[in-house]
């Protein structure tokens, strides 16, 4: 009896090492855009860096898997996931109902309000606005801010990145504004400085990064920080719908990394403030 127990234990131990070895050998392929600082960016040496690069490595470590991070243009990032070019998207992508129709999300792992940016001498900066606007439950003050913005932006051109929550927000809440869409957010920044567009709408941190970019010193944020409604519930890690196991694993790792403050720490390191999800 004792002997058979030892054998069993040995077998179990063997099985366990085997499964650990398998997990360690497994590889998670993560795609990011590499053009949305400070979330993800490509540095001068051509290497990917940013909040999501560090977070991806952290999550892979927690799942004892190898991380392979690749750069992928934004407008093809979901189709390429579906084509199995990689397994996870971590590219400042907000969880929205529209996207959930085609892919699943683990997380969210971070949340940032959306903000307008314009040049410092722009007449748009004159208005006074509420600090926050929650689009799915607008109160009186917030409505006043929206109306003031609507009036100020009438006939103006606003740049957004193609296929983003900001593009959706502009279409839904500011239909009188003429919208220009860009492949990358820094192209919109260039056009803002050149005076081709009057404002840019982006994640607060991405808009702030435009101001810090070369030649962007005249760019400043204005208006309220928008959240909720079409803007979704935060930024998550996109996975294929049939990849339920990976989604569950990532969900667990994100929850743990949020709970022990790791994501908060990474966020402070890259953004200067904490954008991790607080319950």
């Amino acid at each position: 009896m004792k002997k058979s127990l030892t054998v069993l234990a040995a077998a179990a131990a063997l099985a366990m090492t085997a499964s650990v070895a398998q997990a360690q050998g497994s590889k998670i392929r993560v795609a990011t855009e590499g053009a949305y600082p400070p979330w993800n960016a490509t540095n001068a040496a051509g290497k990917l860096e940013g909040f999501e690069i560090d977070l991806a490595n952290e999550l892979c470590k927690r799942l004892s898997a190898q991380c392979e991070i690749v750069a992928q243009d934004w407008d093809g990032i979901i189709p390429s996931l579906q084509a199995k070019k990689y397994d996870v998207i971590m590219a400042g992508m907000s969880v929205t109902d529209e996207r959930k129709k085609v892919i699943d999300f683990a997380g969210p792992y971070a949340s940032e309000p959306t903000s307008f940016a314009a040049l410092k001498n722009s007449p748009l900066l004159k208005g006074s606005f509420a600090e926050r606007v929650t689009l799915d439950q607008v109160d009186g003050d917030e409505q006043k801010s929206i109306d003031a913005l609507k009036a100020a932006l009438k006939g103006k051109t606003v740049g957004v990145q193609v296929s983003t929550i900001q593009a959706n927000m502009l279409e839904k809440h500011f239909p009188d504004v003429s919208m220009k869409t860009y492949d990358k957010i820094d192209s919109a920044g260039l056009d803002l400085v050149a005076g081709r567009i009057d404002a840019v709408l982006a994640d607060r941190s991405a808009a702030a990064a435009l101001a810090q970019a070369e030649g962007g010193k005249d760019i400043t944020l204005f208006g309220p920080g928008f959240t909720g409604g079409v803007l979704g519930v935060g930024v998550g890690a996109g996975v294929r719908k049939d990849d339920a196991q990976l989604k569950a694993n990532l969900d667990k790792a994100i929850q743990a990394a949020t709970a022990d403050g790791t994501i908060g720490k990474l966020s402070t390191q890259w953004f200067g403030f904490d954008i991790s999800i607080k319950k």
């Binding site: 093809g76 979901i78 189709p79 579906q82 529209e98 220009k180 005076g195 081709r196």
Partner: protein
């Protein structure tokens, strides 16, 4: 394959066709004017004229059109002096930047096509015209130009077709021509295959018409090559 989606995307993609045709038409017209000037310069025996023309062709034929578009749209916009100049009302618009880039690019190719056509005119024909006492302009108008046009037409037809396809690059500077609309639709539906198939079919149809028109003109211009019936 989502056939309903393909069917629904068709009218929206066709909505980009007028802009595509405008870009192609305007830049071909502008490019042809520049090209004629360039070709005349290039054929001149004066190196002060032929040199710059050769350099122009070298630069615009030797660099990617995409790079030229980016240089004109994002590059020029960075100079404050230019933003305050008379040219800014034009260069401010993505539309004119695209027309300008396409025109400058096609001018380089077209000037070479014209040069090749003119140089292919057999010298004997010119000699014969001279023997008949024709003046220089008369020889150009009645002998050189018709023969050169005939020679250059197939190559120019190719250039038109290339331009129809090249106009898709305008989508990279925010213009919503056929490709621009296709990319926007894809970003909303994530259906790459379905929508690019339809976009490709529209370009194919356009180029089919172009190639038919070119062969018709070719047929009209070469009665001497037709078999007597």
């Amino acid at each position: 394959m989502d056939l309903t989606l393909m069917w629904e995307s068709l009218p929206r993609l066709l909505g980009g066709a007028p802009l595509t045709l405008q870009l192609v038409g305007l830049s071909l017209l502008l490019g042809l004017c520049i090209a004629v000037g360039l070709a005349v310069m290039r054929l001149s025996r004066n190196p002060l004229l032929s040199g710059p023309a050769a350099a122009y062709v070298f630069v615009f034929r030797g660099t990617p059109l995409l790079v030229q578009i980016f240089l004109i749209y994002y590059g020029l916009g960075q100079f404050p002096a230019l933003r305050e100049s008379f040219a800014w009302p034009f260069l401010r618009e993505a539309y004119w930047c695209a027309v300008l880039a396409l025109a400058l690019n096609t001018a380089a190719y077209t000037s070479e096509i014209i040069r090749g056509g003119v140089q292919s005119v057999p010298f004997g024909q010119i000699e014969a015209a001279r023997a008949l006492g024709m003046g220089r302009m008369q020889i150009y108008r009645r002998i050189v130009a018709p023969i050169a046009l005939r020679q250059a037409l197939p190559a120019y037809g190719n250039e038109i077709i290339l331009m129809v396809k090249a106009s898709s690059l305008a989508s990279t500077i925010t213009l919503l021509e056929i490709t621009g609309i296709a990319r926007r639709l894809i970003s909303q539906t994530f259906a790459v295959f379905e929508i690019f198939i339809i976009a490709g079919a529209i370009y194919l149809l356009m180029n089919f018409v172009v190639s038919r028109v070119i062969s018709l003109v070719e047929w009209r211009l070469t009665p001497h090559l037709r078999r007597a019936t």
